[in-house]
């Protein structure tokens, strides 16, 4: 059993005292050093859960433990300041937080808030910008002159430059072109390879299939499923009730199975896995085990 980076213990959250609960009695754990995908229909409480995880909101009831810090309904904002510095939170449409005169200054903002010297901050910013593939030619430009995709990268670099222990990505690929999406996902994969704990909110099941070690499914603020992607995608009826789709590879493999063309012992999750499985079968190796 892997150590937990985050554990939610009966967390309930309401935006308004009398209103409906955005999260209801939520209990789950996020393993350390793994990538956990958080999925669910729109309005199911994913972003709320992430803000609680970064200590930007405190629960109405229940408690959670993030990187060793316990957050209860009575935790004061001041006490959570340290947590903001350890958790990197890339918001939905993070380009809306850009403000500085130059790209470099904007990326340095986070490290400077951590108390680093300007030289250290600059170095951290350089590294993060290179990691995100933002060319040096753009570093002295105003962030508002960049294209949407470039702004997104600069904003993510601004979070990575803080070298967080836990990274939260709220739909990082929304509104990004396919090439940009592929590059961002490659970056996420690399960060995961470096042993960073990542929470990824996404609406794309392909990303879940490709990247996630664990999946949390939310609906109406409640946990519906927690486990491995393979176990999740093996239950298409459940996915339909959650208004979630199957990844393309899984859907295709299922259709091949129902048409009686091929049989899979283990459902392929990604297109690569599907191609390998099919190639093996076409070579005449029919009883793959």
């Amino acid at each position: 059993m892997v150590e937990a980076a985050v554990s939610y213990q009966g967390v309930t959250f309401r935006y308004h005292e009398a209103g409906a609960a955005a999260l209801q009695d939520f209990t789950a754990t996020v393993p350390k050093g793994r990538l956990t995908a958080v999925i669910g229909h729109t309005g199911s409480g994913k972003s709320t859960l992430m803000q609680l995880t970064d200590g930007l909101l405190t629960p109405t009831a229940g408690q959670l433990e993030v990187l060793g810090q316990v957050i209860t309904p009575r935790t004061k904002n001041k006490a959570l300041h340290q947590l903001h510095r350890q958790v990197g939170f890339v918001f939905q449409f993070p380009e809306h937080q850009l403000f500085a005169e130059t790209v470099l200054a904007d990326v340095m903002f986070g490290p400077l808030n951590l108390g680093q010297t300007p030289a250290q901050a600059k170095q951290a910013a350089h590294q993060a910008l290179v990691q995100l593939g933002v060319g040096e030619a753009l570093w002295q430009r105003s962030p508002f002159e960049l294209s949407g995709g470039q702004q997104r990268r600069v904003a993510i670099a601004g979070v990575l430059a803080m070298r967080p222990q836990l990274l939260i990505l709220d739909e990082p690929t929304a509104g990004v072109d396919p090439d940009g999406q592929r590059e961002l996902l490659a970056l996420v994969e690399r960060l995961k390879g470096q042993g960073l704990t990542i929470l990824l909110i996404t609406h794309q099941m392909e990303q879940v299939a490709q990247l996630a070690d664990t999946v949390l499914v939310l609906a109406h603020g409640q946990l519906q499923f927690s486990g491995q992607p393979r176990a999740l995608f093996a239950q298409p009826e459940f996915l339909t009730t959650q208004q979630l789709a199957l990844p393309a590879a899984v859907a295709f493999a299922k259709q091949l199975q129902t048409a009686g063309i091929s049989q899979f012992n283990q459902l392929p999750l990604t297109l690569d896995e599907l191609a390998h499985a099919l190639a093996r079968q076409l070579k005449g190796d029919h009883h793959e085990q």
């Binding site: 001041k78 903001h84 510095r85 939170f89 993070p94 809306h96 986070g110 808030n113 803080m162």
Partner: protein, 267 residues
């Protein structure tokens, strides 16, 4: 966000005050303010307090909620009153230090000042608490109609006001979002001197303005694309209808005026 009545925030409800014609509420409030300056004796002020108590009771919103909205302004009012008490002369002298003196006339004036502020702020809060911003904009447009003959672009102004009001909550949400995003980047809004705190607003205000300008431009383009022509005569979806309780409201306010004038001159 919280259940305090901030100065100018609408609270949904279905009381008589909520249903009253917004034009009447606006004019009535304006009239009330004039009466406040007209009332100079304790009796007339007592009458006004009674009238204010009546509309508060009719609005079915607890006085404690109004009070929560007035309280932050109370400090400014008290400060003004203290200045008033110290710097005006006349009547019996209670205390003096150099040319600062507290006199009976000064205290009385300060008392009236506090009362006047209280009456004006509370009565306008009653209007904003019981009237949606869009209704207020409609009422303003209706009341400004005569200005059309002076070539004032009344319906354009009204459109601007209602769009501005419409985006207040959106922008408030955005402030919260951007502040959270910057807090997540290690920014601490809650400590430091006044100057450093003011400086910290930069990372919030700049993205906010950028977003607001972008949105304004997008909205303008979208409105044009859908054929909005500012110079065209417009019809209204929300119509204002004068009803019997509006007539009664006018009568009550008329009686209030008569009573006030009588109290002032009959004495």
């Amino acid at each position: 966000m919280n259940n305090k009545v901030l100065f100018g925030m609408y609270l949904p409800g279905n009381s008589l005050m909520h249903r009253l014609d917004p034009r009447l509420k606006l004019v009535g409030c304006f009239w009330f303010v004039i009466l406040v300056f007209f009332a100079r004796t304790w009796w007339t002020n007592l009458l006004l307090i009674g009238a204010l108590g009546l509309v508060i009771w009719l609005s079915q919103v607890k006085f404690s909620k109004y009070w929560a909205g007035i309280r932050p302004l109370m400090w400014i009012i008290l400060f003004t009153a203290v200045i008033q008490a110290l710097f005006s002369s006349g009547g019996q002298v209670y205390w003096h230090w150099g040319w600062l003196a507290v006199t009976s006339a000064g205290v009385a004036q300060a008392g009236f000042l506090v009362l006047r502020f209280f009456l004006i702020i509370t009565s306008s809060t009653v209007v904003t608490v019981t009237t949606t911003p869009l209704q207020l904009a409609d009422a303003l447009e209706a009341l400004m109609k005569p200005l059309k003959y002076l070539r004032v672009p009344v319906s354009q102004l009204a459109m601007m006001v209602s769009i501005a009001l419409r985006f207040v909550p959106t922008i408030m949400d955005e402030v919260g979002l951007i502040m959270n995003a910057q807090r997540a980047r290690g920014m601490d809004f809650s400590s430091g001197s006044l100057f450093t705190r003011a400086k910290r607003l930069v990372p919030v205000m700049i993205p906010l303005f950028v977003a607001a300008f972008k949105r304004a431009e997008e909205l303008a383009v979208a409105m044009e694309a859908r054929g909005y022509d500012p110079n065209q005569a417009r019809t209204k979806f929300r119509q204002l209808h004068w009803q019997r309780h509006d007539t009664w409201g006018t009568v009550v306010w008329g009686l209030l005026t008569v009573a006030l004038v009588a109290l002032r001159f009959v004495k």
